[in-house]
Assembly symmetry: C2
Homo-oligomer: 566 residues x 2
């Protein structure tokens, strides 16, 4: 494509409100433009990359036998009422009324539509399993759209849905999809990790998120330094494995700790380390009060509490409720002399402590030399804390490290949730009506594009991997006033096109400096510059990523470029 | 693709509410399903055809140097307020509010968004001309969605926009696009006509509609039987060419015509043919009253009136207004003795009549032996009627015939309308700010798919043209219980895949009759049936369109199929 005839508006300044590299560079290099907050146009270069990412996803989906289709964005409200998501999605679900005042949702996802479709068409075990997918625009009214394509309100997604007559069949499809996602992100050149994730409201089912590692990621991943274990920090398991101590139990004693409220304040006042204190928090779990005890250096993970109790709501009791029930405020809670109706739940780590401190349930006082079992009873010990860097990996291999990640995909065993709500049954081999089992699988296509830029850029611009670069070759004429340069440029442009090589030809009447800067910014892998030695038939090749430069005669440059591309 | 693993739900019954062949067949053959009124899902087969149509459009757009991009569907209301279309689009424009109560339109088209984008990026004549396009989902809240994909509320469209510094440049882009559309529809195998169309509200600019000829089309096309002339009936020109008569002028006379209201009633009563009467209608054209006179066998074309007066509103005066101004009701109007303030406008054909009848502007009376000029004055003669079949073609070659058409594309010179409203200027060669000129160009992609089915079907199902058939070959195993048939089927399936041939493999455990009926319904061009002679290695090939059947040995059938495809 001739650059003079295309829409590639580049600029130098760091755009206002763009805080991360992908957002800045995609704007500066002319790949995207904002139409409204969280809503973007893909300009020609951005669209080319998007289509290449889509093509790779499509190939891998087709390989595992998924059927591509295309469902509408306008979805009747009734379907969303049936699953309850019309209410639970809240303001994130965009809604509108048609001219007859009928309500519609703008598809944030397609479980409702696809299940209602399949319900009418798939009535027998003979037609199962089935996996369908689409690449389509989705709408979510994010509270804070930001980071360009990373968190937008209108975005491109690949969503897939599988339907099954048995859990084994769902497991198979889930594994196929997991492998396909691994293949997609590997082909895209991403540094990524599949991590164990939280299945959220639907509870209890398997789910993995695919995370592109990046410092700008909003998620924290805990991963083993020696094994394949990786989990979203919310879900990372702390093993029931701690060092035991042979310290002698001392006598329980009560000390005044006036005005010492936080764990750190109490530890400093009583002169011990944080891990020699017990942290006690009163939680309200679906209206039941539970005293949750962890080691002072650990943090309670309320998602683990939620799963443990299969609860809908988990929140801290208010100070008022705490005073009412325990008779002391937040700063002086502890598991000793707790009212019988309050369950005491402790983290595994609490089992192993000796001679520690805890609140005395009396404002301004703490117990010291506290020992579990001797001094207080625990209804059960469980894994209820966030893991810390350096913790043992739960698979027993290595220690946990933390990294930030951008969620680019998720695979999810939905089970029968949607099929039940929408009445999607099939006749099983015995001729009896059974509820369909489902899986759902998403890739944030436009978000993946941004994640790639986060991993592929340097101080001068983007450094696209070959397989998804907007063009394979950037051909530059240094001085458009020199006839021999233009003539050689035109010749090479045609030769490259004839070979089926995707080439962006910078034929603009701009200074060489502008052209080089734009070329670095845009980030096409191979650059051919027609410059001063054009009259002798020599041109220069430069690799964007490594900066490697070589000179070639026009007679052999195409062949050289061809080898680079292959 | 194995049919047993795909979603191709066929059925025999004519679906309720589906009145035309394409709607019925696309449903019955499992290409689409309705999600809500005018809103469809494309099932795997439908999606495959859609993607092939899109690919052909993309190729032809790229050939003329148009830049593909992708703009959002969510469009800020402010942009639509600026062009006035927030109001003029009425209920057809779907609207919604985000969580912050900001208003958005769901893109019915993208003139606003693209012009506002280009305005910020294209500031110099040096970057002009530029043509961009996208293939994207559009939303229009049709009053009466019907005919399946022909008139939907959510549909796929290719829309292109071109930007220019001069009218000549716009003409060039318009012609390029006209040629590209001709190439697209030719490659799609459509019987179509580009026709002169009405430019509507924007007035006066060139526009052509591309019409797929079809009896179910909602538009009527007038075309010459010997030349390339074709126009939407609204726009077809009636030439100022009529036979003259040497009949002697008779004396004007007034006759009672009690209770004779219509042209036909009066003609019957006075015993003459319809063309021997004058039809007079009082119109209100932007609040000015005009008496419009045509021959009795002709119909007034109010779009021509609108263009003639460059009017916003053209409507018939009410009976009350007519009585007030003329002193007579609808049935007795005529151009003789008309109040001076009422302009008399007559069709060209009126010039050539002699001794005709017209209303006497007195209820229950008509004049006979009326002759123009002698008996009444006309302020001007113009082409203001609908053409009739058999009329002379306005290019002087042949006679006009009528056909029905489905509008599948339109090319349009917008001029400066949007650029002015949105303040899209550029610096011209003299360094002065000028308003951009624009063209816009659309293809209804999903509608085109339906139009193809209208032209390609028979009593048994769809008969897809090769280039956009969902698969190239339909491979059937007649009896899935016969091992030798399954084994040969599997072998051929693999061989076809290895050759890169797109094959749908009916490996289902269904009766042969069901498979044949489904195959005819789906309409893949080439069918290979593995049947009774499988043990000898013989299979049958059948062409869907012609019904031609041949028998082939497995050793040479792939080669035969390859020649069919090429």
């Amino acid at each position: 494509m001739r650059q003079s005839k295309s829409l590639i508006p580049t600029f130098k300044e760091i755009p206002a409100g763009a805080d991360i590299a992908s957002h800045q560079l995609l704007l500066r290099a002319g790949f995207i433009r904002q139409t409204a907050s969280g809503i973007y146009s893909f300009l020609p270069l951005g669209n080319r990359v998007l289509k290449k990412v889509e093509a790779i996803i499509r190939e891998e989906m087709d390989k595992i036998g998924a059927n591509e289709m295309l469902m509408p964005a306008l979805q009747p409200a009734e379907l969303w009422h049936q699953t309850g998501r019309w209410d639970t999605m809240g303001a994130e679900l965009m809604r509108l009324k048609d001219r007859h005042d009928r309500e519609f949702a703008l598809g944030a996802t397609h479980e409702e539509v696809v299940t209602s479709l399949i319900k009418d068409e798939l009535n027998s075990y003979k037609k199962l399993p089935l996996t369908v997918y689409q690449i389509q625009t989705k709408y979510r009214d994010e509270k804070r759209p930001r980071f360009g394509l990373l968190r937008g309100r209108e975005f491109v997604m690949k969503d897939a849905y599988s339907f099954h007559s048995s859990a084994e069949s769902l497991d198979e499809a889930y594994n196929d999809m997991y492998q396909a996602y691994t293949a997609v992100f590997t082909r895209l050149g991403l540094n990524f990790r599949p991590v164990i994730a939280d299945s959220g409201a639907m509870g209890g089912k398997d789910t993995h998120e695919f995370m592109a590692l990046s410092e700008v990621g909003e998620d924290i991943i805990a991963y083993s330094d020696t094994s394949a274990y990786a989990a979203n920090i919310e879900m990372a398991t702390a093993a029931d494995q701690y060092e035991t101590t042979d310290e002698t139990m001392q006598s329980l004693d009560k000390k005044a700790t006036p005005n010492q409220k936080t764990m750190q304040e109490v530890a400093d006042y009583l002169q011990h380390s944080l891990d020699k204190g017990l942290k006690s928090l009163l939680f309200k779990i679906d209206n039941k009060f539970v005293l949750v005890v962890t080691r002072g250096d650990h943090e309670v993970n309320d998602i683990k509490l939620k799963h443990l109790y299969q609860a809908n709501d988990v929140e801290l009791a208010t100070e008022r409720e705490t005073q009412q029930i325990i008779g002391a405020g937040f700063g002086s809670l502890g598991p000793i002399n707790i009212p019988e109706e309050v369950e005491v739940l402790a983290d595994y780590a609490v089992k192993y402590v000796r001679n520690v401190t805890c609140g005395a349930n009396e404002d301004g006082y703490h117990f010291v030399n506290v020992n579990p079992t001797r001094d207080f009873q625990v209804s059960r010990f469980e894994d209820i804390r966030f893991v810390k860097e350096g913790d043992l990996s739960p698979d027993g291999e290595g220690n946990l490290h933390f990294a930030r990640g951008i969620e680019i995909g998720q695979v999810f065993k939905l089970g029968s949730f949607y099929a039940e709500k929408l009445g999607a049954n099939f006749l099983n081999e015995q001729g009896k009506a059974s509820t369909l089992l489902m899986g759902c699988y998403g890739i944030g296509v436009s978000r993946t594009l941004a994640a790639i830029v986060e991993q592929y850029h340097d101080e001068n611009g983007i450094t696209w991997p070959n397989q998804i670069a907007p063009f394979q070759v950037h051909l530059l004429v240094m001085n458009s006033k020199k006839e021999e340069q233009v003539s050689l440029g035109d010749t090479l442009y045609q030769l490259l096109l004839d070979k089926g090589i995707e080439v962006l030809y910078d034929d603009r009447k701009e200074r060489a400096g502008v052209k080089f800067a734009d070329s670095d910014l845009i980030g096409i892998p191979v650059r051919i510059t027609v410059g001063k030695r054009a009259d002798e038939g020599y041109v220069e090749c430069k690799l964007r990523r490594t900066g490697e430069q070589t000179e070639h005669h026009q007679a052999e440059v195409i062949e050289y470029v061809q080898t680079l591309i292959d």
